[in-house]
């Protein structure tokens, strides 16, 4: 009876907005993500497509795939990503659970702090760990021991990368847990459930979709990560697919088609991971009928609170304090060979950034404005895509959903090549190529997966009955989107925006390839400093960027406190 009324009501009022949004979302993703990925696919099949020729089709496929090292590199990639995802979960889950028992005030503090790992570029982070733990590194100079054998090993790479990536899962899981609230756990406790039972039988299934989709991101980010395996893995002959791809980009002769072929392997792995994620999420799709956005903090014993704080402190020291300390020390050293001596430490490298030609400031402001624009664009597009994927039961949404994970699976260099192939064509009347807008396009393309994953996971938790109730009460689609869904999604959208902002401020690989002549970003600036052997200047620049964008995020967190209903 009820459904009959609903369907009658639906036929009376035409819903034009939803299909229009779907098409808009598809069009945007196809242009931003689809075209460059298609260009890479074509390049893998037709090695001369860059000259508009279909000559020698498929000639790059076999020689590239026949490489004996490829199998071991693929196995290494899978092993590495699986281990990193697992360790990230182990780090993030206890923290996320504890986060929801804190007062919102101290919780936001930890949230801001755990955003820092995103601000540290992975290659800088790896260098920082090297400076800290290598033979005659900082730890040996100060405390007399080094951990070089551990650092240059499989567990070493896994630890460094997991400490960098676990916040992705932490933020997703704690947002999801916040929506669940404490009520279910309280009920279970009344009926005598043990804490472990409450967690594994109630909370875990409820947050599983969020958890699995953030795990997917971490898995795919680890598969795609270049800096850490390159810097640490090279020391003990550990090669992954991405380092093989980068070799093809940098070895003479340059083998772009070969690199594209290898990118295909990553796309296939991403597809498999995506399907697995979809399967798990669908089995555990959780709909909560009553939303609790702002659960009151639990009253807890002093011991429990101290233990919680201790847990956070230990993780924050490992993931934030030690890398930052190492970066700061490197930035303050006049010479690398001088070591940690008072007379070798000064503010010179930091101060030198800002005298002279103002290149450093220009690079910082370019990066910050690009990152801000990338954050706004990606969150808006992601809202659209999430709405289309979660709320509209159209066939096309599966494609849309998969398309949205692809940019993370393909190495930044390959995306950059795809963007050049796409936009450096004579037939475009207008092209962003060779202007700063190509960098914005690249960042939006590379960062889209984060807000899309986070927002669609959050939207999945909001019950459809919420929308239907509004429709029945006579609300238009616009009202539903803006008055009901948007406020509920706002905290997640902001968190996603911060992540995009943080990662874009330090994006390196595609920036180097795509920066138009004369435009510098933070990452290209740092790269040029390292290229000239000025490690301290590069580290100083990284430090300044981390501080500047970090304080922007802290301001944003305060704003978030006000936004929350």
């Amino acid at each position: 009876m009820f459904e009959l009324v609903l369907s009658q009501w639906q036929t009376q009022r035409s819903r034009w907005l939803a299909p229009a949004l779907l098409w808009l979302a598809i069009a945007l993703l196809v242009v931003i993500v689809g075209l460059p990925v298609l260009a890479i696919l074509l390049y893998a099949l037709f090695p001369h497509i860059n000259e508009w020729s279909l000559a020698e089709p498929f000639s790059a496929l076999l020689p590239t795939l026949a490489d004996k090292q490829l199998l071991s590199a693929t196995v290494n990639s899978l092993r590495l990503s699986a281990a990193i995802t697992l360790l990230s979960c182990l780090l993030a889950l206890p923290l996320a659970c504890q986060r929801n028992r804190m007062s919102d005030r101290s919780g936001r503090w930890w949230d801001a702090l755990l955003m820092v790992p995103f601000l540290i570029p992975p290659y800088i982070g790896s260098m920082a760990w090297m400076q800290l733990l290598q033979v005659k590194g900082f730890s040996e100079q100060l405390l007399g021991f080094n951990l070089a054998p551990y650092l240059y090993s499989f567990p070493g790479i896994v630890s460094v990368m997991a400490l960098h990536l676990f916040p992705m899962i932490y933020f997703a899981a704690s947002n999801a847990l916040r929506v669940v609230g404490h009520r279910y756990g309280d009920v279970a406790r009344v009926f005598g459930a043990r804490p472990w039972q409450i967690f594994s039988r109630i909370y875990l299934p409820l947050v599983l979709p969020s958890l699995v989709s953030s795990c997917l991101i971490v898995f795919i980010l680890s598969i795609e990560e270049f800096g850490t395996p390159e810097i640490l893995g090279n020391r003990f002959g550990f090669h992954v697919i991405v380092t093989a791809i980068h070799d093809k980009f940098s070895d003479w002769p340059i083998d772009l088609p070969g690199a594209s072929v290898l990118s295909l392997i990553l796309i296939v792995i991403a597809l498999a991971a995506y399907l697995l994620q979809r399967y798990i999420s669908e089995r555990f799709s959780a709909n909560l009928d009553q939303q609790v956005i702002n659960p009151p903090p639990l009253r807890r014993s002093l011991l429990a609170r101290t233990l919680t704080q201790l847990l956070f402190i230990v993780v924050a020291v490992l993931a934030v304090v030690l890398p930052l300390l190492s970066i700061s020390l490197s930035a303050l050293m006049n010479t690398l060979s001088g070591g940690l001596h008072w007379n070798n430490l000064s503010l010179q490298p930091l101060l030198r950034l800002f005298d002279g030609d103002g290149d450093a400031w220009a690079a910082i402001s370019t990066s910050l404005s690009l990152a801000l624009m990338a954050a706004c664009c990606t969150v808006l597009i992601a809202l659209l895509v999430a709405f289309a994927v979660v709320r509209l039961r159209a066939r096309a949404t599966v494609l849309l959903d998969f398309l949205s994970i692809l940019p993370n699976a393909i190495p930044g260099m390959a995306i950059a090549v795809g963007l050049i192939l796409t936009w450096n064509q004579r037939f475009w009347p207008l092209t962003p190529y060779n202007t700063s807008l190509i960098l914005l396009l690249a960042y939006v393309c590379l960062m889209l997966p984060y807000p899309i994953r986070m927002l669609s996971a959050a939207l999945r938790q909001l019950p459809r009955s919420l929308d239907d109730a509004a429709y029945i009460s006579g609300a238009s689609e616009l009202t539903v989107i803006f008055r009901i869904l948007a406020p509920l999604l706002a905290p997640v959208a902001l968190a996603a925006g911060f992540i995009v902002f943080a990662i874009s401020t330090r994006e390196l690989v595609s920036s180097i390839m795509l920066a138009p002549p004369g435009v510098e970003t933070v990452a290209t600036y740092v790269f040029h400093q390292f290229d000239q052997g000025s490690i301290n200047a590069g580290m100083a620049m990284s430090l300044v960027t981390i501080l500047v964008s970090g304080s922007i995020i802290v301001c944003g967190q305060r704003l978030q406190g006000r936004v929350r209903p």
Partner: protein
């Protein structure tokens, strides 16, 4: 927010370099002060605007390849002579002989490309490491240097590949024996030039086999504890080729740029970065043409078998 966004968009569009009719696109491999110094001096002298894209040699070539459907670049300055050889063999270079190239050694110029300058490959060691100063390449296979040597990867550094090719061309058996000795000495092959030099500056290792000399001299000038040694048994030059791409829309400007880079003024800018100037009549700020004993070999022939050389090197070192 909307306003800010609009302002930013407008700002970005305005900030992009306007493409004047009289301009030149140059892709150049490091060092940045040299590239931007050359560009600025050239602009001041001719009034032609230079759009300079800087990256590593590999990324420059990757961008060039990806842009083939709509070529943008006029002049490429690479750090790898082999890049010029391959582009030349593919017939993608515009022949040009600069009048200023008269005193550039014959080995450093062809009808289609010419060196801007050159680096020499050397041994670099950290005096603080307490190791004895090496004098020849084979010294580093001695037990004293066990676990103390790094070497840039020929697969990731064109100059390191040139060194391997030069030593192999000089005496093949001796060269491969040398690398076997280095491998037995636990030589670390961590990646490109910086990856090999940093551990030596930081003290984790002591010696670089095959350091790019101007980087070492530059580091020393900044106060780092590092010394450069040119081995007695001869060293190898890694020239930096300059070439005009055939599809260039600004061929006259491109020729003027090559002329300028080879002029006395341009070559002095090269010398300022501790690079060996291509012209023998320009004073170098480091050991010059007469102070180096250089192993001559046929680079084009070596380039043809580069893949095999790299594979053999990898098989020995990564054992």
């Amino acid at each position: 927010m909307k306003k800010l966004f609009a302002a930013l968009t407008v700002g970005m569009v305005l900030a992009t370099p306007a493409f004047a009719t009289d301009h030149l696109v140059v892709y150049s491999a490091g060092p940045k002060p040299l590239s931007s110094g050359l560009a600025k001096a050239f602009e001041a002298k001719t009034g032609i605007k230079v759009d300079m894209f800087e990256a590593t040699a590999g990324k420059i070539m990757a961008r060039y390849e990806a842009e083939k459907a709509n070529p943008q670049v006029d002049v490429i300055i690479s750090a790898a002579w082999a890049d010029a050889i391959s582009l030349d063999q593919a017939g993608e270079l515009l022949p040009y002989h600069s009048a200023n190239a008269a005193s550039v050694p014959a080995a450093l110029q062809t009808p289609n490309y010419v060196a801007q300058g050159a680096a020499a490959l050397a041994i670099a060691y950290n005096p603080q490491s307490g190791l004895p100063a090496p004098t020849r390449w084979s010294d580093l296979t001695q037990p004293t240097y066990k676990d103390q040597v790094t070497m840039p990867d020929p697969a990731k550094s064109g100059s390191s590949l040139t060194l391997v090719q030069g030593l192999v061309a000089k005496d093949e058996t001796a060269a491969w024996k040398l690398f076997e000795g280095l491998a037995a000495n636990q030589t670390l092959v961590p990646g490109p030039n910086n990856a090999a030099m940093n551990p030596v500056l930081q003290g984790a290792k002591g010696v670089v086999f095959g350091a790019v000399d101007y980087l070492v001299i530059g580091a020393k000038a900044k106060g780092e504890s590092i010394e450069v040694v040119y081995p007695k048994d001869g060293t190898v030059l890694a020239p930096r080729p300059m070439m005009i791409i055939k599809t260039s829309q600004h061929q006259d400007a491109a020729k003027q740029f090559i002329d300028f880079a080879l002029s006395e003024e341009g070559q002095k800018l090269v010398a300022d970065e501790f690079i060996l100037p291509a012209r023998t009549d320009i004073q170098a700020k480091r050991p010059g043409w007469n102070d180096l004993s250089i192993i001559d070999f046929n680079e084009a022939a070596a380039a043809a078998s580069a893949a095999a050389t790299k594979a053999k090197f990898a098989a020995i070192m990564m054992k």
